[in-house]
């Protein structure tokens, strides 16, 4: 059992506050991903959970137990570091044995745990090597193995794939997912890459500027982003935000055309319209829609993405059939294709729920 509860957790380094009150509930066996742009405080939050840095304010409970003042080694939490942080003077076996020996486990138990971890991570033949004799991917395995042998209740992984090359990255990503299924502990995984987050997580915690923007499943975040930050952060290519004004059932840009909608938020003359590339159509000749001028077309085999500039200068991405090739500077019309779109408050960026517009 490992349930983590963070209540109003704040962290200050000297005068600077980098976490501004985090509330978070993590269930047993959950695979949680903290995602957010660089510098938003993901590592800091992870280090607070690990106990490597003290919590300035607020509380962290593991199950029912208050953990704020418990030493890192006594928390039942293991961490895989971004740089792997293997002990350079110990071979792979010793790296893994170091912690479990200190836990006072009997020799046979230590040996069997290490050989099991080595088998799971396919590194039996590496046990006698020193870290400097290993490739990046192998070091990564050792770092995971070192966490594994301690049989912790909670695994923390800080950007574990960021030092691997692209090919290895997706491979190790799959292995981590498999590992989580096999060992079943609670995992907290930090990344700045939303694709990693979407593919791995049961639950994603989107962070920005030391705050949690939204917590939810990948599907929830994608389908109902709580604000414009989450909307643009999750999904690739990015959601475009267009500043629009409402007039009847239409949303328009000044001197840039307008589009009709069946559902709109109430009583807001100005708002942000959030559209993903596959919610839009682009046509050369059309009566209606936003006017735009093509910037370039990105051909990706299965699809193409057309990037066009709206009258107010916003760059918008539209997914099209790969045979639809538009030339730069072509004048086009952009329309909604009926797929879901998102509405955000013009000032706060908070999500606005639409309701059916009364027929005129």
């Amino acid at each position: 059992m490992a349930r983590l509860t963070l209540r109003n957790v704040k962290k200050r380094f000297k005068e600077t506050e980098v976490l501004h009150g985090i509330d978070l509930e993590i269930r047993d066996r959950e695979f949680v991903v903290f995602v957010g742009p660089s510098g938003c405080g993901k590592s800091t939050l992870l280090r607070l959970i690990a106990g490597l840095d003290p919590i300035t304010e607020g509380s962290f409970h593991l199950n029912e137990r208050m953990m704020n003042d418990v030493a890192p080694s006594k928390r039942g939490i293991a961490m895989v570091f971004q740089s792997y942080a293997l002990y350079p003077h110990m071979d792979v076996y010793e790296n893994m044995a170091f912690g479990v020996r200190l836990m006072g486990l009997p020799k046979e138990e230590i040996e069997s745990r290490i050989s099991e971890a080595a088998r799971m991570l396919k590194m039996e033949e590496l046990l006698k090597r020193k870290p400097r004799e290993l490739s990046g991917g192998q070091r990564q395995r050792v770092a995971i193995g070192r966490a594994l042998v301690r049989k912790p209740e909670v695994f923390l992984l800080d950007e574990p794939l960021s030092n691997l090359d692209a090919a290895l990255r997706s491979e190790v990503r799959l292995e981590i997912a498999k590992l989580h299924r096999e060992i079943g502990g609670t995992m907290i995984y930090v990344t700045h890459d939303q694709i990693e987050a979407m593919t791995l997580a049961d639950k994603i915690v989107v962070m920005n500027n030391g705050r949690v923007e939204q917590v939810g499943s990948p599907r929830q975040l994608f389908e109902k982003p709580a604000n414009s930050f989450v909307g643009t952060f999750i999904g690739s290519p990015k959601m475009t935000l267009v500043d629009v004004s409402r007039s009847g059932n239409r949303l328009g840009i000044a001197d840039g055309g307008s589009v009709p909608l069946d559902e709109l938020p109430d009583k807001t003359p100005h708002l942000k319209l959030g559209v993903r590339p596959d919610a839009l159509t682009v046509k050369r000749e059309a009566e209606d829609g936003f006017t735009a001028s093509v910037v370039y077309t990105e051909y990706l085999g299965d699809d193409s993405y057309v990037y066009a500039r709206l009258a107010d200068g916003t760059l918008v991405a539209i997914r099209t059939h790969p045979n639809d090739i538009f030339e730069p500077d072509e004048a086009v019309r952009i329309n909604l294709n009926g797929s879901p779109v998102h509405f955000f408050d013009a000032e706060s960026g908070q999500r606005l729920e639409p309701s059916a517009v009364a027929a005129h």
């Binding site: 080694s73 293991a78 961490m79 740089s83 002990y87 350079p88 003077h89 912690g99 200190l102």
Partner: protein
């Protein structure tokens, strides 16, 4: 066979290499070579006598009273070396660790600890000789002031404490050097490595023993070797503080003082014995060179790549 042509380039290189080589030969190689040669002759004062082979070496090692003087001085050097190893390097390591973990006042102490290192040994020697003065010296005055009268001893004046006092002064003066080297070694350890260890143990001692020390040990090589060389060449500090005879009663006599006395004489025994003196110098040199070289090679093997 390629002919060596005196092009501009070779001339230039020759011009750059010859002067330093000449200086080294005149002022380093020649004196060492001649000291080596002197050791094989009989000497009457500054007058060179006959070639006597290994007689001088035999004298200082096996003939009384020289043999027991040599032994006593050598023993003192060994004591100095091991004591400094513990006091100077050991405390240096602890200080470095405290500075590294940013204990309060680290910025000030980083400078304070290193300050005496830049003072000249002559000044330090005189300073502490005054400090240790049995009646007026601040050391004893402080002890008496705080009621520890039994510690108000003639520190430099009695056989039981003289060598210890010298060792203390040396450690005081030089502690900054090992501290700085160890600190530099510690600062090379990546933060995440230490964090990884902290995830596995909350014992500071385990951390030091199993992680910090093994990673810092390579930088200790130079500290150990230099301390070894310094301990067996020890001269200035005892010379200034206790004089050429290693007073009282030779209780602070070390090889450096003993060599100097033998080769150049002193007030009490006005004789100069260049032969025995040179033999001693050669023995000291060989001992230091061989041990230091051997040890360097051994310790280098332990170096760890971070």
């Amino acid at each position: 066979m390629p002919r060596l042509r005196l092009t501009g380039r070779t001339l230039w290189i020759t011009a750059l290499i010859v002067p330093p080589l000449a200086v080294m030969a005149t002022f380093v190689a020649y004196p060492i070579g001649s000291a080596l040669a002197y050791a094989f002759y009989d000497w009457q004062g500054l007058q060179r006598g006959e070639f006597v082979g290994l007689q001088n070496f035999y004298n200082v090692l096996f003939t009384e009273p020289f043999a027991s003087w040599t032994q006593r001085a050598f023993m003192h050097n060994i004591i100095v070396f091991f004591s400094l190893m513990v006091i100077q390097n050991g405390t240096g390591f602890i200080l470095a660790y405290a500075l590294w973990r940013e204990l309060p006042g680290a910025a000030f102490h980083r400078v304070a600890v290193f300050l005496p290192v830049v003072l000249s040994t002559v000044i330090i020697g005189f300073l502490w000789k005054l400090f240790f003065h049995p009646i007026f010296g601040p050391v004893n005055q402080i002890f008496r002031g705080v009621g520890l009268d039994f510690l108000a001893q003639p520190w430099l004046g009695q056989s039981s404490t003289a060598l210890g006092s010298l060792i203390f002064v040396n450690a005081w003066a030089w502690i900054g050097f090992p501290t700085l080297v160890f600190l530099a070694g510690m600062q090379r350890i990546p933060t995440e490595l230490l964090d990884a260890a902290r995830m596995e143990t909350d014992s500071e001692w385990v951390l030091i023993k199993k992680i910090v020390w093994p990673l810092v040990a390579p930088s200790a090589t130079v500290v150990f070797i230099l301390l070894f060389i310094g301990s067996f060449n020890w001269f200035e500090l005892p010379y200034i503080m206790v004089g050429l005879d290693g007073s009282p009663f030779g209780s602070t006599d070390v090889l450096g003082l003993y060599f100097y006395r033998t080769a150049f004489g002193n007030q009490s025994a006005g004789v100069q014995d260049f032969g025995n003196g040179s033999a001693l110098a050669v023995l000291i040199f060989l001992f230091i060179a061989v041990v230091a070289a051997f040890w360097t090679v051994r310790l280098r093997k332990r170096e760890i790549q971070l």
